[in-house]
C-alpha cells in the first residue's frame, strides 16, 4: 500500500534575554553550576509572584511578525497544571486560547506554504539528572523564556521538515533573539507523524509524537524511521498506537516512551497573577520598525543590489553574520575596484575565516590575488629559455598548431618565477619567441 505522511511540528525556541521570563535571574544557564541562577520566583517558593519580561514578549511578537502571523491585541497568560519534579510551582505559565501570534506561514523552496497555527510564550522547566537511585533537580533553567511555534500538519516528508526548521532557525537568528542551537537545547522540536492512504484527505485517527531529537540529521532519520515503522503496521491491517516515542541515537530508532490513553487534562485557567497583555497597533508597528531585515527580504535586496546568482545569495544570506560581513566587504571593495561577485566567489570558494579576517583585509587579499608583480627582464628571459628547453615536446606541439599548449608553458613559467605575473605579457613574449 502507498501511504502519504502527515507531519506537524512543535518547536520550542529558548530566548536569549538577559533575565528569565518572570524574574530577574540571569537566563544564561548553560554550563553554570546547578541552582546558582535561582530566586524565590523561579524556585516557586510560597508567596513568590511572576512579573512578565517585556523584552521576551516583544521578541515573541517579533518572531510572530517574521512568520507573517496575526498579532493579538488582547492576550493573556494561563496556567497549565501538571505534576513533574522539575516543575517548581506545579503549573507552567503558558498561553492557552489567546496566544500572542496566530496564523502565519513559512514558504518552502518548492513553493509550498507551511501554515503556522500559533506562536506563544511560556517558561522553561528545571532539569532533572538521574544518578543511580537518586534524581537531582537543577532550577537554573526554570523560568527561562520559551517561544513555542506550532505548525499545521502540512509536511509530507522529512525534507520539508528539515527545510522548514532551517528557515525557522535562520529567522530567529536573524532577529538575534535566540542562538537556536539544537545541541545546547535552545531549539527543541517535536514532530508528530502519522500516515494516511494516498488520496485520503481526513486526518489519520492516530498520531505519534517523537521527542529527544537534538539535531537536523536526527529529525530526518527519526521521521524516515517512523514512516517505515508505521507503514509496516498499517500493512498488517492494524492502526499504530497513539503514543509519545523518543529518538534513540545509538540504536538509530524511535522507542515508545508513553502511551497516551486519553488526552492530558492540564486544567488551563487564566493566570491570576498576571494581568492581560494589551498590544496596541502602535506598539506592534513600533516593534515592526525595530525588527532587523528578515532573511527573505535580505535575499531579495541582495538580488537587486548585487549581480549575484541565487546560489551565491542563498549561501551568503544563510547566516546573518556572513551576510553582514559580505555587505561590509562590498563597501570596502567599491573603493578598490573589487566587485561583489569577486567578493562572493572569494568568500564561498576560499573558506575565509571571517571571525579573524576583517572585511578590509579580505579586500586587500582579493586585490593582491588579481594584481601582477614586476619582474627583472633578465631573470624572466632566463626562466623562459629554461622552460622552453625543458619542454621540447610542448614547443613542437605548439609549432604544429596546438596553440593551447601555450597556457601550459605560461603555467610552468609562473611556477618557476614563484610570482604572480601578467599572463598576457608572458604570452606575447612566448608568441614572439616561438615564431
Amino acid at each position: 500500500m502507498i501511504y502519504k505522511p502527515v507531519i506537524g511540528l512543535e518547536v520550542h525556541v529558548e530566548l536569549k534575554t538577559k533575565s528569565k521570563m518572570f524574574c530577574s535571574c540571569s537566563a544564561d544557564y548553560f554550563g553554570q553550576k546547578p541552582n546558582t541562577h535561582t530566586c524565590p520566583i523561579c524556585l516557586g517558593l510560597p508567596g513568590a509572584l511572576p512579573v512578565p519580561n517585556q523584552k521576551a514578549i516583544d521578541w515573541c511578537v517579533m518572531i510572530g511578525l517574521s512568520l507573517d502571523c496575526r498579532i493579538a491585541n488582547f492576550s493573556k497568560f494561563d496556567r497549565k497544571n501538571y505534576f513533574y519534579p522539575d516543575l517548581a510551582k506545579g503549573y507552567q505559565i503558558s498561553q492557552y486560547d489567546q496566544p500572542f501570534c496566530q496564523k502565519g506561514f513559512i514558504l518552502l523552496s518548492n513553493g509550498k506554504k507551511i501554515g503556522i497555527t500559533r506562536v506563544h510564550m511560556e517558561e522553561d522547566t528545571g532539569k532533572l539528572t538521574h544518578q543511580g537511585d537518586s534524581s537531582l533537580i537543577d532550577f537554573n533553567r526554570s523560568g527561562v523564556p520559551l517561544v513555542e511555534i506550532v505548525t499545521e500538519p502540512e509536511f509530507e516528508n522529512a525534507k520539508e521538515v528539515v527545510e522548514y526548521l532551517k528557515r525557522l532557525r535562520q529567522i530567529v537568528r536573524y532577529l538575534g533573539v535566540s542562538d537556536a542551537n539544537m545541541e545546547e537545547g535552545n531549539m527543541r522540536l517535536e514532530p508528530n507523524i502519522s500516515l494516511r492512504k494516498e488520496g485520503e484527505t481526513s486526518l489519520p485517527k492516530y498520531k505519534v509524537e517523537v521527542k529527544n531529537i537534538n539535531s537536523f540529521r536526527f529529525v530526518d532519520k527519526a521521521i524516515e524511521f517512523e514512516i517505515k515503522r508505521q507503514a509496516e503496521i498499517l500493512d498488517t491491517g492494524l492502526l499504530p498506537v497513539q503514543e509519545t516515542r523518543g529518538w534513540n541515537e545509538t540504536k538509530n530508532k524511535t522507542i515508545s516512551q508513553r502511551v497516551k490513553e486519553e488526552a492530558n487534562d492540564y486544567r488551563y485557567f487564566p493566570e491570576p497573577d498576571i494581568p492581560p497583555i494589551l498590544l496596541t497597533g502602535t506598539k506592534i508597528s513600533k516593534l515592526k520598525s525595530e525588527m532587523p531585515e528578515t532573511p527573505s527580504s535580505k535575499f531579495a535586496r541582495f538580488k537587486n543590489e548585487f549581480a549575484l546568482t541565487n546560489y551565491d545569495i542563498e549561501i551568503l544570506t544563510r547566516e546573518k553574520y556572513l551576510a553582514d560581513y559580505f555587505e561590509e566587504a562590498t563597501k570596502v571593495g567599491r573603493k578598490h575596484n573589487v566587485n561583489p561577485k569577486q567578493i562572493a566567489n572569494h568568500l564561498i570558494n576560499r573558506n575565509v575565516d571571517i571571525n579573524s579576517v576583517l572585511p578590509a583585509k579580505l579586500i586587500e587579499a582579493i586585490v593582491k590575488s588579481t594584481q601582477t608583480e614586476q619582474i627583472d627582464e633578465n631573470k624572466l628571459d632566463k626562466i623562459i629559455s629554461e622552460v622552453l628547453k625543458n619542454n621540447q615536446k610542448a614547443v613542437s606541439d605548439y609549432k604544429s598548431g596546438k596553440e593551447n599548449v601555450i597556457m601550459f608553458l605560461i603555467g610552468q613559467i609562473m611556477r618557476q618565477a614563484k610570482q604572480k605575473l601578467d599572463t598576457s605579457m608572458i604570452k606575447n613574449i612566448l608568441i614572439i619567441k616561438l615564431k
Partner: protein, 471 residues
C-alpha cells in the same frame, strides 16, 4: 505609664516620640501580655522575642537620634502567611511546619523599613481556609471575649492579638472575609483594601485573584496610619495598581453629612441573627444622626456570591497548593488537613475539561455581574454599609462538621472580594452575652480614604474600642 500594650498606634507613636516610654518598654509590655495569655488563647505560632527586643533597642537608638519613621518602635504581629526572612512561616499547616523563608514579603519589608518591631507570627486557619480559626494545624485560637467561642477566621490570631493587646497592630489577609469577620468577632478594626492596592508578593497565596492584604488595628485612625505604610504599587506584583501614594488619614475628621450611604437590601435578610440586626440598625441610626443620608439599594446578584466564590476560590487554591508536592519543604501531601484537601478536590474538579464551562467559566460570568452590581450602586451612593457576618461568633466546634454552614458565614463579605472593592470592618457593639458585633463600610475601588472618614466619624460616637475583654 501602665499597660503600654493597650495603647493605640497613634498614642504609642506619640509616647515614643515624646520619650514618655521606650520601644523596649512597649515591646516588653506586649511580650508580657503574650506570655500571660498566649497559652490560653493560642494566638501566636512563633514568638520572635529575641529579634523583637533587638529591633526595639535599635528603634530606641533612632528615636534618641530624633529620627522619624511611621512605625518606629511599634510592636506589630504578622499573620503566619507573610514570608519573613529567617523566621519560620507555616501558613498554620503541617506541610510548612519547618519552612524558613529566605526572603521577606514586600509588606514585611515595608513594615520593617518603617521601623516596626516584629513581635511574632500569628495563628490562622491553615492556608487561610476557614472562617473560625479551627482549621489550624497548630490548635484553635480562642475568642478573648469568651474562650468557648470562635475568634473568626482565617486571620484569627492577628485579630485576637490586637483585641487582647498583645501588640499594637497586626497584618491579615482577606480572600472572602478573613480580616473583616475576625475583626467583627473581636471588637477591632479590620481593613480589606482594594484588590491590588497592597502587594501580595511574599504572602502565601490562597486564591490569587481574590487575596487582599490588610490589617487589624484598635482604631480607624490607626488603620489609616498603617495603610500609609503598606499601600502602593510593587514592581514584584504585576497585579498592584499604578496609583500615586496618598495620606489616607487626611480626611479623618471631615464630617459625613454630605454623604449618601446605601444599605444593600440583599444583605439585610430575615436570615440575619436578631442581635446582629439590632446592632446594625443602631449603627445606621448613628450614621443618620451624623447627617449621612441613608438609602436602600439593591445588589441583585448577591445571592450567587457564595456559589461563585466557592468555584473561583478552590480552583485557584488547587493550583496554588500544587507546589507543595512532597519533593520540597519536607512534608508530603498527606500533611494537608481536611479543608485544604476538600478545596484541592473541588478546584481540580471545577477546572477539569468537560466541567470548566459549567463551573469555572460560569462563575467568572457571575463575577462580572457582581462587579457590575457594585459599579451601578456606586453611581448612586458614596458607600455601602452592612453587617459583617450574618451571625454572632459561634461556639467552638459548632460548625466544624458542616462545611456549608461554615461557608455561609462569609455570605456578606465575599462579594467585596469578587468585585475587588475595599471594606472596612468597625466595632458596632455587643450582644446580650457580650460578644462583639461588627459592621462593614464598603466603597468603590480606591475609596479607602472615604471609608476611614466614615469609620472615624462612627467610632468617635461609639468608642467601642475602649472596651477590653476580661482575660
Amino acid at each position: 505609664m501602665k499597660n503600654l500594650n493597650q495603647l493605640t498606634l497613634k498614642r504609642a507613636k506619640q509616647g515614643l516620640k515624646n520619650k514618655e516610654f521606650s520601644s523596649v518598654e512597649l515591646t516588653k509590655a506586649c511580650l508580657g501580655q503574650i506570655k500571660k495569655h498566649n497559652q490560653d488563647l493560642n494566638v501566636f505560632i512563633t514568638i520572635a522575642e529575641k529579634q523583637a527586643l533587638e529591633s526595639a533597642k535599635k528603634a530606641d537608638e533612632l528615636i534618641a537620634g530624633r529620627q522619624y519613621l511611621p512605625l518606629l518602635g511599634i510592636p506589630v504581629a504578622l499573620k503566619d502567611l507573610f514570608s519573613t526572612k529567617g523566621v519560620r512561616t507555616t501558613a498554620a499547616s503541617n506541610v510548612l511546619k519547618n519552612y524558613i523563608p529566605p526572603y521577606d514579603a514586600t509588606v514585611v519589608k515595608k513594615i520593617k523599613d518603617a521601623g516596626a518591631v516584629i513581635i511574632g507570627k500569628t495563628n490562622l486557619d491553615a492556608w487561610a481556609h476557614g472562617s473560625s480559626g479551627e482549621n489550624s494545624d497548630f490548635g484553635t485560637t480562642k475568642n478573648p471575649w469568651n474562650k468557648k467561642y470562635v475568634p473568626g477566621g482565617s486571620s484569627s490570631g492577628s485579630a485576637v492579638s490586637v483585641a487582647s493587646d498583645m501588640c499594637i497592630s497586626a497584618t491579615g489577609t482577606d480572600t472572602g472575609g478573613s480580616i473583616r469577620l475576625p475583626a467583627s468577632f473581636n471588637n477591632v478594626v479590620g481593613l480589606k483594601p482594594t484588590y491590588g492596592r497592597v502587594s501580595r508578593y511574599g504572602i502565601v497565596a490562597m486564591a490569587s485573584s481574590l487575596d487582599s492584604i490588610g490589617h487589624f488595628t484598635k482604631t480607624v485612625e490607626d488603620s489609616a496610619l498603617f495603610f500609609n505604610v503598606t499601600a502602593g504599587k510593587d514592581s514584584m506584583d504585576a497585579t498592584t495598581l499604578p496609583v500615586p501614594g496618598e495620606d489616607f488619614a487626611r480626611d479623618l475628621d471631615k464630617d459625613i453629612s454630605e454623604l449618601i450611604i446605601g444599605i444593600p437590601r440583599e444583605f439585610v435578610t430575615k436570615d440575619l441573627d436578631k442581635e446582629v440586626r439590632g446592632g446594625f440598625e443602631k449603627s445606621v441610626k448613628i450614621l443618620e444622626n451624623l447627617g449621612a443620608k441613608i438609602t436602600e439599594i439593591s445588589l441583585p446578584h448577591t445571592e450567587y456570591g457564595i456559589a461563585a466564590y466557592y468555584i473561583i476560590q478552590p480552583s485557584e487554591v488547587s493550583s496554588n497548593l500544587a507546589r507543595y508536592d512532597g519533593i520540597r519543604y519536607g512534608n508530603n501531601r498527606g500533611a494537608f488537613g481536611d479543608e485544604a484537601r476538600r478545596r484541592i478536590m473541588l478546584g481540580t474538579f471545577t477546572l477539569s475539561s468537560g466541567y470548566y464551562d459549567a463551573y469555572y467559566k460560569k462563575a467568572m460570568q457571575v463575577r462580572t455581574l457582581i462587579k457590575k452590581d457594585f459599579d451601578d450602586a456606586f453611581l448612586k451612593v458614596d458607600a455601602l454599609i452592612s453587617p459583617v457576618c450574618p451571625t454572632l461568633p459561634w461556639k467552638l466546634g459548632e460548625k466544624i462538621n458542616d462545611p456549608l454552614k461554615m461557608y455561609l458565614s462569609d455570605a456578606l463579605t465575599v462579594t467585596a472580594n469578587i468585585a475587588g472593592v475595599p471594606g472596612l470592618a468597625v466595632p458596632a457593639g455587643f450582644s446580650v452575652n457580650h460578644l462583639p458585633i461588627g459592621i462593614q463600610i464598603m466603597g468603590k475601588q480606591l475609596s479607602e480614604t472615604l471609608l476611614f472618614q466614615i469609620g472615624n466619624a462612627f467610632e468617635k460616637q461609639t468608642n467601642y474600642y475602649k472596651l477590653k475583654p476580661n482575660l
